[in-house]
Amino acid sequence: MSAEPDGPEDRLRRFATIWSRAVYPVTSTSSTRPEFEERLLPLARRLSEALRARSFDADAGRTAGAALVEAHCTDPEALSRTLDCVDAYLVLYCGGDGDREDLRARSARLQHAMAAGFARALRERTLAEQEAIAQAALEAQGVVAQALHATEARFRAVFEGAAIGIGIADLEGNVLQVNGALRRMFGLSEQGLRGRNVRDWVHPDDAPQTWRLYDELVSGEREHYHLEKAFHRPDGTVLWTNLTVSLLRDPDGEPQYQLALMEDTTERRLLNLRLRYEATHDALTGLPNRTFFFERLEKALGAGEGQRFGLCYLDLDGFKTVNDSLGHAAGDRLLVEVADRLQACATAPGEMVARLGGDEFVALTTGSDTERTVDELAARIMNALLAPISVDGRELTVRGSIGIVEGPAGERSAAEVLRSADITMYRAKSAGGNRFELADPEADARAITRHGLTTALPTALDRGEFFIEYQPLVHLGDGSVRGAEALVRWLHPQHGVLSPDRFIPLAEHTGLIVPLGRWVLEQSVRQAREWRDRHGGEALGPLRINVNLSPCQLTHPGLVQDTVDILERTGVAPEALCLEVTESALIGADDDLLKPLRRLAEMGVDIALDDFGTGYSNLANLRRLPVSVLKLDRSFTQSMQQFPADPVDLKIVEGIVSLAHSLDLAVTVEGVETGAQAEQLRILGCDTAQGWYYARPGPPDRLHELALVDATG
């Protein structure tokens, strides 16, 4: 709008400009100053009109005051500056030519009205805005509360439904809240738990650090801890838990609450205990088992200086007979009773009894005076076995053999101690049983060698550690070599060459004698074949081979078949083979035992009765045996080394030879060491001989040479 310079319109605009310049700096409006001036211009116009109206109305003042507030002039300074401006310039710029006095009075009244209008509008705006913001805050809280409610409901569901026990307590230990799982664990209601104090839950099984950790947590020095803890239940039972306690802090980091999470491990623990019990106890007798015993023994052996141990290793005598004759159930009942009696023998602190298996039991005593206590313990055990045990209405007499090992802790391993006790027990047993023996290092060493040989035997055959030596059998009549006895040797990697008496009994014991015997037979027969091929020997017949059969081989069902197979495979005639059987092996032999020998004899294999004269032979029985050769034991020929020979011995040998010949048996003598001996035996009628006089056992080639000498000589 263009205005005539210094005309009323121009003057009004100049007033509005002055007004806006005064007030603009204290407004909060985001408008520019010119825009703000445009907002003030209509207000200025109304004030100007009111100033000059015929009848005065202060309403324009109130409107202008309120309009200021609407234009965001909410700062009281805006009103102050407005009133200053109106007071100074309204009459001057907008008063026209009216009465000055009257105009000034009107201006004053307009100012009063403006102040009132401003104040009212500001008050209304303030109240409205306060109302609006309060409303907004309320609504926001409602929304947040609703969201919180939803999350809280979720959390509550998690809290209540959790399978793990959850409890919250304050830092004084007062329980504030617990969930269902925890209540069920304790067997208590919410009331029964709430208000309880954590410190009341002391339990005798608490780990030593339990309450130190607790104190550290509630004092804020520790964020959490984890341990196994037991609690008393109201029904008197014990609740075992896996417990994790955490410190809850407020947003400022100040400790506020303690949170306990617990898992019921009672059953798992019982199961573990049971498993542990089962793993360490013998199911039949309830005694500690080998595992448990080893633990205790190792502990005893690891004890400090001055501490000793004493061990009784008990094996019942003849228990196998009980089992075989009365059955395993009866045997088991016997063992249970023995276990009970043994248990009663070892009741002092540091003493224990365990069952190692079968009918083997051990009793352990520890302390500083075991030299005395172990003897007493062994005596108590022997004494406890004295009274017969009643099983199935039978009174069974039980005896046992005990090996005792006693010594200081810290010198030997548990395995060494137990082996020594085992060996000693066997010594007691070989001495007749029903006794106890004290361990002796030398006896142990011997037994340990035997033990070592026994364990090395099975692999020795695979490794080819056995070899055979041959001792010639010489015809006493013409001194020619007629054959040889095969003698097995063991070239042991540590012990060197071992003679059969060192290992054949062990092989018998372990059953290895069967494959070993078969191997010896096969090797020997092959050797016989080789001699035949090289030597011919047509004139004197084939070289014969004598092979020893052990008692165990005799009863082995494969004996006949094995022998036949070997002879066929090698193409050696049965007549070239002589099997030697000891006299003792055939004592009391029944027909079943003799059957295989008889079959072999029928085929043409010679059977020699070895070591004849050492057992209590029933001479009448000789007729019954499928035997064609008697081998006279060296004890009969020993006296003939001297000259003159003992006449009684001469008579005996003469008698035996006569008897043998009358039964159509050949006689072979062993242990011929001198020429005089040989001559004497020849005169007595013996057929063949072997001994150092002719040759020591040696490699097969040596025999070949001897035989060759005969043939050429």
Partner: protein, 270 residues
């Protein structure tokens, strides 16, 4: 159900709110005594704080008008706070009645108040969300209803980024938002800085401390740091400048010295 004593409270109007303090600086009464106390404390160090806010509002008004003049009709105002006067939708819809404005704030009271103010306006809406989680904003049904992200949008980050700590990676959030915008979109931004404050820094620090104490730290950034928010945008003339110098309607010399605190700028995506 009884609320357990240990559950944390999540809304607390006894704690000052920066959006209600902002309202107080602008002469409004959408605030509580706690807000006014904090604001007065800050003003003891920086009496001209209201002038900064006023310049901020004035810049925003010019920038919105500029955007409408450039053909943009969609506005996404994150950190909109308490609607007082001269709000984006008022300015934008005054220039183009079809303009659509989506406000976003994480202050539940500001959101509730905005809902009351916007009631009945179907081209403006408020979403409760956080700038630090841009995907929650971009994927919200409210935004998808009001804003077509295939067309240019003016993204307003006015006086908000200085409340996002580096630990929350404001740059990543700004990048994520930019990547969601159609070509030709704009970023309208203001940010607090020690640059331009007509006071010795230790006085300004006093005001910064007040925000620290109310657990709503004010992160003062340098011009270079603020410029980095415009990565991927072409700066609109005159670039990143003190608020009164951005396309002024009146001579900047007439402005209060406090109005020159901090920086403002507008960028446009290619």
């Amino acid at each position: 159900m009884e609320r357990p004593a240990w559950a944390p409270r999540s809304i607390d109007i006894t704690v000052p709110s920066v959006s209600r303090m902002y309202d107080f600086y602008l002469g409004g009464s959408h605030n509580f005594e706690v807000d006014r106390q904090a604001a007065r404390q800050a003003m003891e160090f920086m009496p001209g704080l209201p002038k900064i806010m006023q310049a901020n509002r004035a810049f925003m008004r010019r920038a919105v008008r500029f955007a409408v003049a450039e053909g943009i009709t969609q506005f996404l105002d994150i950190g909109s706070g308490i609607p007082t006067f001269g709000n984006v939708h008022e300015v934008a819809q005054a220039a183009d009645p079809d303009a659509r404005v989506m406000y976003v704030d994480h202050d539940p009271v500001a959101v509730a108040h905005s809902q009351a103010v916007l009631d009945g306006n179907d081209r403006a809406d408020i979403l409760a969300a956080d700038l630090r989680k841009p995907q929650e904003i971009l994927a919200s049904p409210e935004v998808l209803r009001l804003i077509d992200l295939n067309r240019p949008v003016a993204l307003l980050l006015v006086a908000i980024l200085h409340f996002v700590e580096d630990a929350d990676d404001p740059y990543a959030a700004v990048t994520e938002l930019r990547e969601a915008l159609a070509p030709g979109s704009m970023l309208v931004l203001t940010h607090a800085s020690y640059d331009g404050i007509p006071l010795p820094p230790e006085r300004a620090e006093g005001a910064v401390d007040v925000y620290q104490n109310i657990r709503n730290p004010l992160i003062m950034r340098t011009r270079d740091e603020i410029a980095r928010f415009f990565e991927g945008y072409d700066m609109v003339e005159p670039g990143l400048v003190p608020m009164p110098q951005w396309r002024p309607d009146t001579a900047p010399e007439d402005e209060d010295p406090y109005a020159f605190s901090g920086f403002a700028g507008v960028g446009r995506t290619a």
